[in-house]
Subunit: 224 residues, 2 copies
């Protein structure tokens, strides 16, 4: 058992070292970087598709799209107007790590970029342990998933700064209680900022866009 | 990198050795054992709740309910009439392993049991690598998740024998294409048996119950 713990510590400390290098590079350029995490199918790609379509003129967005297999998400994001979309296939690994991000960023021209989105592998457990050098983790949860998820997968909600409740258009067809999921999430992380929206109907997206534009401007100013 | 691969190989071979012991024990008792795997929120617990309520008189069912944190699922299953429900909290780990199952089974009296359900951690990646000594993996996918999931998470669909498409009552409110998910799944695994059902409305559950009763009888007979 101690062999396992020592090995995991070593892997994580190497990851943290590289994440710090990535963070320094992004900070020097004033790029806001968001690591999107969630279960498979919560709507990370859908959120990015709409954000690209509706904010693509206002913000210069770069994306790294991680998947275990296929470039489906990266292709969807390119079709949605993404100018810089870099796919990362983990080849079986259950999370993105800083090494994968470092390699991906080395193949992208980041000059002029306002926001970097990293779409992690759909997995509510493992990606929580890996710092990718991002400013913050944004966790998505959809109304079809069950409102006790923050309690059952606490690490992800503890390490995220923002929670986006997606698929609010389906709430009426489920037993999902939005007040309950918020209360559960805030039990785990009292500082969590929360958005409710539907990528399908568009309801609630305005607040997310406002937040994003504001956060990107703050990040840009922090450099000067 | 080779250090990592060697370490993973060692962990998995220890797991396989213990899984073989568990399988031998369950086979000797003629117990059908199913390892339920899926994304968080696909409806593993809901399926087990309904199965317990509606087959609890016909089949003697034991359950091991795994979660990263909380005993929420185990509590739900006990309320649904589960006589033998053993919670396993992984404490951060993203999957159940054979050691956890071995410990759990040592605390259960399995005499007279027809079916053992193991409800894995909600995670479409990591649990695919861990043999728990089960007869088969049953993968759930819900219609709110996206029909390309079998392509994006192929290992889980390759190693499962059954795929249950859940939440068919919500199909009309989503872009999910049932024919497409079946085709995608069969690209990965041509032998996959597929059920379509809704744990909410009950539609399609009869076929699952019939299959379960039949499979349990076959397993019992295989012992004699």
């Amino acid at each position: 058992m101690s062999e396992k713990i020592n090995f995991e510590k070593k892997v994580l400390s190497e990851n943290d070292r590289l994440a710090a290098v990535i963070r320094e590079n992004l900070n020097a350029r004033g790029i806001l970087s968001l690591n999107l995490v969630s279960s498979p199918g919560s709507g990370k790609t859908s959120l990015l598709e709409r954000t690209l379509k509706e904010l693509g003129e206002k913000l210069n967005i770069a994306l790294v799209a991680g998947d275990v297999q296929t470039e489906n998400d990266a292709n969807r994001l390119s079709k949605a107007g993404g100018r810089i979309v870099r796919p990362v296939i983990t080849g079986g690994a259950c999370h993105l790590d800083a090494r994968m991000i470092d390699r991906a960023l080395n193949k992208i021209d980041l000059s002029g970029t306002d926001v970097l989105f990293i779409e992690n592998v759909g997995n509510l457990v493992c990606p929580s342990s890996y710092d990718l050098g991002e400013d913050m983790k944004v966790v998505l949860i959809s109304t079809t998933e069950g409102d006790d998820k923050p309690l059952k997968y606490p690490s992800m909600f503890r390490r995220s700064s923002l929670m986006i409740i997606n698929k609010t258009d389906l709430t009426e067809f489920t037993d999902f209680d939005i007040d309950k999921v918020k209360a559960n999430a805030r039990t785990i992380n009292g500082d969590l900022e929360i958005f409710e929206l539907s990528c399908r109907t568009g309801k609630g997206l305005d607040a997310w866009y406002e937040w994003l534009i504001d956060a990107a401007a703050k990040k840009k100013n922090s450099r000067q």
